[in-house]
């Protein structure tokens, strides 16, 4: 089976860990975030003709892109950039983060996940903003870790990009 290192990125409390919690295999507790700053999980994605094993580096959320430990990005084949749809600032921080990651990793595949879709009434990211991102060529997926909406699609979408399909 092909393995790929994938990073989960985003600022504080956007729901990265919640996104992976229900959908991946895990042997490490969430304490690792506050100690080592990263937690490794595993997700096997079934593609049309093969399986892809994603080794997820769920990296501790930082307030600014400068606090990101770049060494954890090393060797990543792709990443999921997570924002909290109810907090607009998380989107702008994610944009800065993406720039920084791009400097380190180069143009590797990634997806932007707008999480917390279950709180639709508190949604703070406009259709226009989303459309602008898509125009930029970004793939944006709306997710809810709470209901599970879009999460499988997100992992599957990234896996597909990584396998070159």
């Amino acid at each position: 089976m092909i393995q790929k290192k994938v990073c989960m990125l985003g600022t504080f409390a956007v729901g990265k860990t919640s996104l992976v919690r229900r959908f991946v295999e895990s042997i490490y507790s969430e304490k690792y975030h506050t100690t080592v700053g990263v937690k490794i999980d595993k997700k096997v994605v079934q593609l049309d003709s093969s399986e892809l094993m994603l080794i997820l580096w769920d990296i501790e959320g930082t307030e600014t892109e400068h606090e990101l430990r770049k060494s954890y990005l090393r060797g990543a084949a792709g990443y999921l950039l997570v924002v909290d749809g109810t907090r607009q600032d998380t989107l702008y921080k994610a944009l800065a983060l993406q720039t920084r990651v791009n400097e380190t990793l180069g143009p590797v595949p990634f997806l932007l996940l707008m999480n917390k879709l279950d709180l639709a009434d508190q949604w703070r990211i406009s259709e226009r903003e989303t459309a602008a991102l898509r125009e930029k060529g970004w793939e944006v997926i709306q997710t809810s870790a709470k209901t599970g909406f879009g999460v499988e699609d997100a992992f599957h979408g990234l896996a597909k990009k990584l396998s070159g399909a």
Binding site: Q3, E25, G37, V38, I40, D41, I55, R69, Y72, G75
Partner: protein, 588 residues
């Protein structure tokens, strides 16, 4: 080479011809050209080729590149001039290369650097290691003694104790991890080793290395080399493209590090291109399995075992051996005696009616003290067969009365001495007697029972007092052997009581002795006959009413033993009677 040389000569000849005949050349150029083409025609193309080879730089480069390796080889064999000439350039080139990017060079020489450095260090350390080994060997002898003692104490074979203590290490798992991505390339584990999800562990190991490197601002090239958790150690061996991580239980020797290092080097050597091209597929690394398995080593410290068992005899060792043997023998007897004593005391503690309050050893003798109910088993008898020497045991017992039901009952039996026809039961403070007994015993028991420790109540509902049969007198008129007619009711009651007795007696054999009496008037012989007659009358009456139970015997008392002193007529009437006595004839 011969032909181009000839062409060259021809060409120069042709030129001189032209120089000498310049006027003719100019007047009739067309003729000359024709002539030239006639003369040189076949060589002209070759000439052009030569020209190109001589003056085209690109062609020159190609020409030189073709002969350069051979030329270098030939010249190198001749003398050192080429080496001398190249040295500054090569060194400048290396310097430039390192300055530009040291990584490729470091990667290239990595497989040879390791062994070279290790060889040098090993030579330097070997002297030091020798003296260290001696120190270790000395400490071994004391440890050897300790192990023997432990084996003696625990009853385990010495060899087992040594193996237990000499388990040095076991490599339980080996991870081959891609340096850049932290992805697992290959994993092997020893039999029975506990293995978590190895893909995640591989990632986490890499993350921890990154974490340590980032957090403690190490210098470039410095890496996490070991993690230690309890008796588990993770040794991490770095290579340019891959990391080897070994999970080790126990204390592994430094040589194992070398095994790990060599394995990393071999893997880089054999799988170098696969490592460089790695993009997530671990299949090319299946071939690393045997190399990784070679790292799954384990070792027992058998060398030290040999040292401790097979060294030369010295006077000190002989004395030590004798002392050890004496100690072992003494220890054996001490332990055996101790176990016997403990077993005996344990039995005393569980014995009813005995309460052990203190045990110990005093002046080389065991002692035990406590309380003992006189009815309990004799400790002296209990000691028989335990192997303990009674002369070396001091026992101090204070008498006491145990209040457990068994003991209350036993004490009741001892003091009441019930006849075989009486059963005693005790429960919850209540002493109960059933069966039948003499009136005297019943009276005695009533008095004594409630004084017994532990007995608060005495019940005799099921106890038949023989007084009911032995007390009534069947009376007769003067000089008569027929039962007085007013005695009928008494007689009927007697029959009923005898029937009751029969039920209680069960299988027991009972005899009824019928004694005839007479008053003091008249002669003794007359009275004897009279009393005999009276007894026979009663016997006949009983026989008629009872069905062969019990056995009846007749005793003639006459007037010799009077029931009463005859002071009044009533006394004399009493003496004209027949009495009954119940005798249990059962031998049991």
């Amino acid at each position: 080479m011969g032909i181009p040389g000839t062409d060259l000569m021809t060409a120069s000849d042709g030129q001189s011809v032209v120089d000498e005949d310049k006027s003719e050349f100019s007047s009739d150029e067309g003729t000359m050209a024709e002539l030239r083409s006639l003369l040189l025609g076949p060589a002209e193309a070759q000439l052009a080729q030569v020209h190109e080879r001589l003056f085209d730089p690109q062609r020159q480069v190609e020409e030189v590149s073709r002969v350069l390796p051979d030329a270098i080889a030939v010249r190198s064999r001749q003398d050192e001039d080429l080496t001398t000439a190249l040295a500054p350039t090569v060194s400048a080139a290396l310097e430039y290369s390192v300055r530009k990017n040291p990584q490729p060079l470091a990667d290239a020489i990595f497989p040879i650097m390791g062994p070279a450095i290790r060889k040098a260090i090993a030579a330097a350390l070997s002297g030091m290691a020798q003296s260290f080994n001696q120190t270790l060997a000395h400490s071994m002898s004391a440890r050897g003694l300790a192990w023997r003692w432990e084996a003696l104490k625990t009853g385990r074979p010495f060899s087992e104790v040594v193996l237990l203590h000499t388990l040095l290490f076991r490599v339980e798992q080996v991870f081959l991890i891609h340096q850049e991505t932290g992805l697992l390339l290959r994993h092997v584990s020893a039999a029975n080793a506990e293995v978590q999800d190895v893909d995640m562990v591989s990632g986490m190991l890499t993350a921890i290395q990154d974490f340590v490197r980032d957090s403690f601002s190490t210098r470039p090239g410095e890496q996490l080399e070991a993690l230690q958790v309890g008796e588990l150690t993770v040794w991490i061996e770095q290579g340019p493209q891959a990391i080897l991580a070994g999970v080790i239980r126990g204390n592994a020797p430094q040589q194992l590090r070398e095994v790990f290092q060599e394995t990393v080097e071999k893997i880089h050597l054999q799988f170098g291109s696969a490592l460089k091209e790695f993009s997530g597929a671990a299949i090319p690394f299946v071939g690393t399995q045997p190399l990784l398995e070679d790292c799954l080593q384990s070792a027992y410290d058998l060398e030290h075992q040999k040292i401790s068992t097979g060294r030369k005899l010295t006077p000190l060792r002989v004395i030590l051996g004798i002392v050890l043997l004496a100690l072992a023998v003494w220890g054996f007897f001490w332990l055996r005696d101790r176990r016997r004593w403990d077993a005996y005391v344990a039995r005393l503690r569980t014995e009813p009616g005995i309460v052990v309050t203190d045990t110990g050893k005093q002046d080389g003798k065991h002692f035990v003290s406590g309380l003992r109910d006189p009815l309990s088993r004799d400790p002296a008898i209990m000691m028989q067969g335990t192997g303990l020497d009674s002369k070396l045991v001091v026992e101090r017992w204070q008498p006491f009365q145990a209040l457990t039901p068994d003991f209350v009952l036993a004490r009741a039996r001892k003091s009441l001495e019930p006849p075989t026809t009486v059963g005693l039961h005790f429960n919850d403070g209540l002493l109960e007697a059933e069966g039948f007994a003499s009136h005297q015993w019943v009276l005695e028991t009533r008095r004594v029972a409630r004084l017994l420790p532990g007995v608060s109540q005495f019940r005799e509902d099921k106890l038949f007092d023989l007084e009911r049969i032995e007390n009534p007198l069947l009376m007769f008129d003067v000089n008569q052997t027929e039962i007085r007619s007013d005695q009928q009711e008494k007689f009927d009651q007697l029959m009923a009581d005898i029937a009751h007795l029969r039920q209680l007696a069960g299988e027991k054999k009972v005899r009824l002795e019928i004694a005839g009496h007479a008053d003091g008037s008249g002669t003794e012989s007359k009275n004897s006959t009279l009393s005999q007659g009276r007894a026979e009358t009663v016997a006949a009456a009983l026989k008629a009413n009872l069905l062969n139970w019990p056995n009846l015997t007749i005793a003639t008392v006459g007037s010799k033993e009077k029931l009463r002193e005859e002071l009044t007529d009533a006394d004399r009437a009493t003496n004209r009677s027949v009495t009954l006595k119940v005798i249990v004839t059962d031998s049991n």
